[in-house]
């Protein structure tokens, strides 16, 4: 199997010595929508920051498309779009101007801007400043920035934060379409497990800095839990897995 992202014994700790990640080995199959799940403080955002090169000086290694991230940051970033934690927007600029700031850095065609805005449903925001957007609109614009240069790999940390139910459905369908039609691989973290269940093909579950499970959604669903006779939805399986780890 071809992997777009692999990590090898990825670890991270703060200056105080407190460990955040302990030897994480993630394998994201090419063309997958990889749901990265974990409770608050489990190490999801730290992992995603390491995958995007925002955190450095860490034991372990990250390879993207079989290239080590260290030493190949620029070619890798050309293929990667990201949204880490809250959206990063220049509040004094309009949606179009925000995208223009990043278009100049990605050196992609100007036609990508209206396309990205249309993809997230922000084509009619005109000269309204991003600082006056609702939380959902800001999140959509953050997604548009991630999509602007048409990356083949998306890393998204809680991208549906602040979106209303209709917005969540639209963005979910957008990710599915990108994955199905443009073969974009997606790594996505979210707390909304019911939403993830409808979107992802593969799952990684992290708890207290350790990877508890990694595999396809079908593999996770096939895990037999003797304590439960009911249907195995993602939420139940996640809670059982985390509780087992605590025990």
């Amino acid at each position: 199997m071809q992997y777009c992202i692999e990590t090898h014994n990825l670890s991270h700790s703060y200056h105080s010595g407190e460990g955040i990640l302990h030897g994480i080995n993630i394998k994201v199959p090419q063309g997958a929508i990889y749901g990265f799940l974990g409770a608050n403080g489990a190490g999801k955002t730290t992992t995603l920051k390491l995958l995007t090169g925002l955190l450095t000086s860490t034991p372990g290694a990250v390879t993207v498309y079989n290239q080590p991230l260290r030493g190949n940051r620029l070619p890798i970033m050309r293929q990667m779009g990201s949204l880490i934690e809250t959206s990063s927007l220049y509040s004094h600029l309009s949606a179009r101007e925000n995208l223009e700031v990043f278009r100049r850095l990605y050196q992609c065609p100007a036609t990508n801007i209206p396309e990205a805005l249309a993809q997230v449903g922000l084509e009619n925001t005109g000269s309204k400043k991003a600082g006056r957007f609702s939380l959902g609109m800001k999140q959509r614009l953050g997604i548009a920035i991630a999509l602007l240069h048409k990356p083949s790999l998306l890393i998204l940390d809680e991208p549906t934060n602040g979106l209303d139910p209709q917005g969540m459905i639209e963005i979910r369908e957008l990710f599915k379409t990108l994955n199905r039609e443009q073969h974009v691989s997606i790594v996505i973290s979210s707390h909304i497990l019911s939403e993830m269940e409808k979107l992802v093909t593969h799952i990684g579950i992290i708890n207290k800095g350790r990877l508890l499970f990694q595999g396809s959604l079908a593999e996770l669903m096939a895990i037999n839990n003797p304590s439960s006779n009911g249907p195995h939805d993602l939420e139940t399986l996640f809670i059982n897995l985390v509780n087992t780890a605590y025990a």
Binding site: K49, T56, S82, L93, F102
Partner: protein
């Protein structure tokens, strides 16, 4: 080089509608406008000054006293701190650092934009001073145009000198701005050093505080070529502060 140009053009766009951009505009025109207002309100002396043959020199000295000692250092402190703050305030460092551009290009593009804003401010100041000398003659028919032609070279030289004097302030503010998320820290340190610099003008070793260089350029010390002394120290300080800022930026562990 191409990467730097793209980064510069991206950084340039960020100053649109920003407080830093408005401050640059206001900072460049403030002194000439005030001086023009004062001149228009002192009609009695206008004729004498316009026929004295010393108008541009007088305006140069008066204008740069306010600009060089007060407005320019304070403006550089504010604009540099504000421009870097844009990334912290909007939480955009992480997005910037996941673009396919080297950290070196991003760093120097940001620095270059602030430098160009400073040049813009000086250009506006000079145009403003030119208008300050000309406008009264355009408004009042009895006032002639200045007797002597505009001494462009003197104004350009003066601007370059004050630009040099401002560089260490810009460089240290840039370093401080990168160090901390809190806007008040670079602003507070900058203001404190500015006050120290002004107090230090009369001190024998006042040149060790770069924030007073604008004022020091006006101070005449016997046996000392103030211009050479200040520009040498200014260049040295600027190199050290920029190198420190660059190393700090490059080696920062968390680039989010």
């Amino acid at each position: 080089m191409n990467a730097f140009i793209y980064c510069f053009s991206s950084e340039w766009l960020k100053k649109k509608h920003s407080a830093a951009a408005w401050l640059t505009l206001a900072g460049g025109l403030f002194v000439p406008l005030i001086l023009l207002f004062a001149r228009l309100n002192n009609k009695k002396e206008l004729y004498a000054s316009h026929t004295s043959g010393q108008l541009w020199k007088t305006l140069y000295t008066t204008g740069w006293q306010y600009m060089g000692i007060l407005l320019l250092p304070l403006g550089v402190i504010l604009v540099t701190s504000l421009f870097i703050q844009v990334e912290f305030k909007n939480n955009t460092w992480k997005q910037l650092h996941t673009t396919p551009k080297s950290f070196t290009a991003l760093f120097f593009a940001k620095l270059a934009v602030i430098l160009v804003m400073l040049l813009q401010c000086l250009l506006l100041f000079n145009v403003g001073m030119l208008l300050c000398g000309m406008v009264p003659a355009w408004i009042y028919v009895q006032i002639p145009l200045p007797k002597e032609s505009f001494p462009l070279l003197m104004y350009v030289k003066g601007s370059l000198l004050f630009l040099m004097a401002s560089l260490p302030v810009l460089a240290l503010q840039f370093l401080l701005g990168l160090l901390t998320k809190n806007f008040l820290v670079p602003l507070g340190v900058g203001m404190a050093l500015y006050v120290a610099g002004i107090i230090g003008v009369k001190w024998q070793y006042g040149y060790i505080i770069p924030y007073g260089y604008g004022a020091l350029l006006f101070a005449r010390k016997p046996g000392v070529d103030t211009t050479i002394l200040i520009t040498s120290w200014a260049v040295g300080y600027s190199i050290v502060f920029i190198a420190a800022a660059y190393l700090l930026y490059l080696t920062k562990r968390d680039k989010a």
